[in-house]
Symmetry: C2
Subunit: 313 residues, 2 copies
């Protein structure tokens, strides 16, 4: 049986941090929950929402006596945070995070950890387009995957405890190397975000098409991209700067493939287009079959009712 944590400290109470706080509460996975955020407005909101037993703006104090510390900050904030909390971590404590890039997290945090502290980096592959402590909800991780990338020397019991915590929050867990994680996420998350941001930017810069037209007629496909392109700018800036190599590699492939498609359009290669458009349906079916997506049309978006029939029309 894996013991419950005595004292979990969450640093950074945005969408992910506040969702973890809520899920830990619901799963009764910690005896005492500490929330640390450097932003006073966030701390006040966390207190109003009752997300933790203790709320502080002092990182060193927050981690004292904690047997689990979870860093939920933009990935480039980890280095300074690691330096600030390192000396105050208790022997035997586990330190984890939720960063979307894992290679840089390992590089930035590991050097600051005293001996006897266990490092289990994690990345829950889940999120919404909203940010901040009000945006979180306890069910965010249900049926989603959380990827752990522990260094080879990490104690198996520490990995098991972090795994159990994610499972208690409803997530599935997979373990891989930071390098492989960064490659997989470059194609399943980072490049999709980049091209979503990009097309929204391109559309905003048209001269012959007004912004009002882009907005009105967005239901033709564009609006799905805007959801992703509404994600937190600081978090995503950090992702692209810290996972540069994998992102540039995947972006190169994407652009190469796009040029091939462009050429098919220019030369009227209907069979080539049809073949690609048929092949891509299979991936969608796999995502639905694996429970990562709803089968309902339009992601289950609500469709308002028809107006009443006008008999005198």
């Amino acid at each position: 049986m894996i013991p419950k944590f005595d004292r979990i400290t969450i640093i950074g109470l945005g969408l992910i941090g506040s969702s973890i706080a809520r899920a830990i509460r619901k799963a009764e996975a910690a005896k005492h929950l500490v929330a640390m955020d450097r932003d006073k407005a966030v701390r006040e909101r966390v207190m109003e929402l009752g997300l933790a037993d203790e709320v502080t703006g002092d990182a060193a104090q927050a981690v004292k006596g904690a047997d689990l510390v979870i860093l939920c900050v933009p990935v480039m904030a980890n280095a300074a945070l690691g330096a600030a909390i390192g000396p105050h971590l208790s022997p035997g404590a586990i330190i984890s995070d939720v960063g979307s890039v894992k290679g840089s997290v390992v590089r930035d945090i590991a050097p600051h950890l005293p001996e006897g502290v266990h490092f289990v980096p994690a990345h829950p592959v889940a999120g919404t387009e909203h940010s901040g402590p009000d945006a979180g909800f306890a069910e965010l991780f249900v049926n989603r995957w959380s990827i752990l990338t522990p260094p080879p020397e990490t104690a198996p019991v520490a990995i098991a405890r972090v795994r159990a915590l994610w499972e208690a929050m409803g997530a599935n867990v997979e373990v891989m190397t930071p390098e492989h994680h960064d490659l997989v996420l470059a194609i399943t998350s980072h490049v999709p975000h980049l091209i979503a941001y990009n097309i929204v930017g391109t559309a905003a810069d048209m001269e012959k098409v007004t912004e009002s037209e882009v907005i009105k007629f967005s239901a033709g496909g564009f609006r799905d991209f805007t959801r992703i392109a509404a994600s937190d700018p600081t978090m995503w800036r950090d992702v692209f700067l810290t996972n540069k190599d994998a992102v540039l590699e995947m972006l190169g492939r994407f652009s190469e493939d796009l040029l091939a498609l462009q050429r098919m359009i220019r030369w009227g290669d209907g069979d080539g287009l049809h073949a690609l458009f048929t092949r891509t349906r299979a991936i969608r079916r796999g995502i639905i079959a694996s429970g990562q997506e709803t089968a309902a049309p339009d992601f289950g978006r609500p469709h308002p009712p028809l107006p009443e029939a006008k008999k005198n029309q």
Copy 2:
């Protein structure tokens, strides 16, 4: 007061055609509704679903006596269809369509129309990733825009009747030229579909990342693209072949902007990335404010409940 139609014929009972049939029924907008599809399996399903008063596989017979004919077929099927039905259209009939490209539709259909027949091309900017008569629903067009692109000589009364029909189905209506339509839709719909198809193809072709990994970790952003990339292949092939010029123009801008972003990543221009990522949020807000999107996180995707807390953890 705009009179109800006596006899509406819908040709092609896919997602859009069958949604129109359902909406017309609910809005009581036609005294008699005829469904024509060349596919026997579709006709049988339309009969089982009771979507029309009359179901036929004969286009010439279907349009006889109709005061409104709506073509709901892939855009490249319009030329042959126009030739087949032209001689059988009744004087005073209105012919309309739902094609996602309007320039080619006007070119392909207009020459086949006898004098006295009114031509009001239309494009409802709405859809889901599903295809076929079972995928349709009456509410599909509610709060969506339907764009009419009538030739300058079309009688205003014909335009008014088609407008009233779309409004009865819950849609908003805008009138513009076919050329402007094709430019607007290239950026709000056609290029988004193309890059969605493209990234799903790129992801499927990885050597170092398995398809199972792409599927598992798709909740990081990728899965939203797969919805669009599951759309009907024939319809979309036709869109790209018939709106070639506008798509290539918009694609050129997209790629140019993407190269600029790529360069920012390569050179570590965090401020440039942050500025773009902040700007794109405003467009999202506009789309939500205009009722083209739900404000609920994740498009209102359902989130399953947390597992019960395990007290013995």
